[in-house]
Symmetry: C2
Subunit: 352 residues, 2 copies
DNA sequence: GTGAAAGCGCTAACAC
DNA sequence: GTGTTAGCGCTTTCAC
């Protein structure tokens, strides 16, 4: 870490007594066997001794590879994403790639400018966790030379590989759990319908209700404008104030995610209702700490780390020119798990 | 976003009917005034029309600036860090710099290899949030050409600029709050002493106790081996089991951070003690959701976003060759705030 | 198996 | 004000 001029390949070559080209070949694992074992060793030792570190920009300029991968998330402070980042970073780093994280602040405009900026950087590939259901940018990206993999949120076109969670099964697990507790009148506070997760969960909910032969009704599925606590609270309030004209029509609520579920909890206590005695509640994601709120949330756990890991691996195969082409347009759904805690209980017995 | 060969400076120059060198000058804001307004306009229009995006690697190779800034955090999934990342990224992006995030998984070895890897990339500067109190790597970094700014955690040498929170005042606020509630026998479950935050808070606690003339005693300050819930729980258990020989000697606990505080909560309920009736508890950091645990945590809120923001600005001035040199070795402490919730209450009245 | 030489796309020092 | 030229540090043909 000295302040001196950085040692370059030519220095190593000089010390090893070979030509820079040879030194390059000796140092690159792929071309190493074009060089005699003895030379290779000498070069390696010289590099070691001088503390040679290749200049990534020079190499990148020559090879047209930056070894940079961009990961685009809507909001790093949403605890959903850091585990994905971590999972992705681990496999990327192991492959010699550097992860560049960008937060789009939930804005499509910002997303576009970020992606453009990264492309200018010569980014090798993208991991995109911000997909909206109709997404022009991603449609363009699908046609572009820079490979991209969708993570967590899918897009309508289906022109990009996708790694996500098995949302559908998650919702079914939630509904089955409620049914097994004796619930029949179940509502859903779904997430925004411009995201695949919001859509999938709402669709799966309707399907599960039908499949179990449960009653349906007006306002049974409501949409929150965002995956946030305030949005969940506002929508839940609307669900609850409707009951003025009779008893609460629902004994259980499936929330679009944990944040929405927390909002529901707020609205419930404002309305003087108790969870789970009056209303059972299931969340989605199993965020940290939702096991410590009151009541601890029954929720669906996603394998976030594994999702990041697999998305990175998927990108890696698309980055590897030696990989068999095959069908590159995979959609992989990772298994989810129901985590039962204290926000679900048998429904209140009908008063009689 | 077409698949075709990327347009380069020479293409723009050809279309504008000038020499590449001139095009370069016209496009660069700094050298723009070396070129006639008319030429500059023509070049700009050609660039626009062709969709020219400069090749960052070629430019970087030439100028020896990568426009990459590395941010090193111990664990992205710790909610303490994402807001700092966000704050830093915002100012960096505005300055045309790209943030590279690396997670060291709390390991010094990993930190070293990451930093080395990023230096190989020709990183322009570092934002380091992983500092340990004795940190060889940072001592080396202080002597290196790549500027670095410490964030959140300081290091012993003091050879690097630092941006953090006013920990000392935070602890004083916590102790004052407890004293004003009537507490006199206050214990501290401090964080690991190989971090500045752990040390500062423990030191400030002792100072506050002394300043208020409060009783001291054996085992009043205990150290958790990590800033985690299990570490907090384990250390709290030791604090609590000692009371077999008499009444609980402490009526309040100041925790090294919120995670430790959550561990204390666990240990408390295991021991059949109630917070805040039996013991009051103050955390540190005001993590998301600690307002929703039982009981909602009284804690010290840090301006995490502002810390990231300011650390990035600090790095920016060190990156700017035109900036006045001045004393570059600043230590800036941002103001903190006491957030009173339900984990603190007057001490139990002495039984009489 | 190794040396020579070209060139990735850009900027900056030097001419004119 | 603009053209010319060299070169950042590396990889990779092409010779031999």
């Amino acid at each position: 870490m000295a302040r001196e001029r950085r040692v370059k390949l030519a220095d190593v070559a000089r010390v090893a007594g070979v030509h820079p080209g040879t030194a390059s070949r000796a140092l690159n694992p792929v071309t190493r066997d074009q060089v005699s074992r003895e030379t290779s060793r000498r070069v390696a030792r010289a590099a070691q001794r001088l503390g040679y570190v290749p200049n990534a920009m020079a190499r990148g300029l020559r090879t047209a590879r930056s070894h940079l991968v961009g990961m685009v998330v809507p909001d790093v402070t949403n605890p959903l994403f850091p585990p994905m980042v971590r999972g992705a970073e681990r496999v990327l780093a192991a492959a010699g790639l550097t992860l560049v994280l960008t937060d789009t602040d939930n804005s499509a405009a910002s997303e576009r400018s970020q992606v453009l900026r990264l492309r200018a950087r010569g980014i090798d590939g993208f991991l995109i966790a911000t997909a909206r259901w109709e997404d022009d940018l991603l449609a363009e990206l699908a046609g572009a030379a820079t490979p991209a993999v969708l993570l967590n949120r899918d897009t309508a076109g289906g022109r990009l590989p996708y790694v996500g969670a098995d949302e559908r099964t998650g919702v079914h697990l939630a509904v089955e759990h409620l049914v097994s507790l004796g619930h029949r009148r179940i509502a859903c506070l779904a997430g925004p319908q411009d995201t695949s997760t919001g859509r999938e969960r709402a669709g799966a909910f309707r399907q599960a209700i039908r499949q179990h032969g449960l009653p349906t009704g007006r306002g049974q599925v409501r949409f929150c404008p965002a995956f946030t606590e305030p949005a969940g609270a506002a929508t839940a309030r609307r669900l609850l104030t409707n009951r003025r004209h009779g008893p609460l029509p629902w004994t259980a609520i499936v929330a679009g995610n944990d944040l929405i579920a927390l909002g529901v909890l707020d609205a419930l206590s404002e309305a003087g209702l108790h969870c789970p005695t009056d209303v059972s509640l299931v969340g989605f994601n199993d965020l940290p700490m939702v096991d410590r709120v009151t009541p601890p949330l029954t929720t669906i756990r996603l394998p976030l780390d594994a999702m990041g890991d697999l998305a990175a691996r998927t990108l890696l195969t698309r980055l590897d020119p030696t990989a068999p082409p095959g069908n590159q347009l995979t959609r992989t759904l990772l298994a989810v798990e129901l985590t039962v805690r204290a926000s679900t209980a048998p429904p209140p017995t009908e008063r009689g």
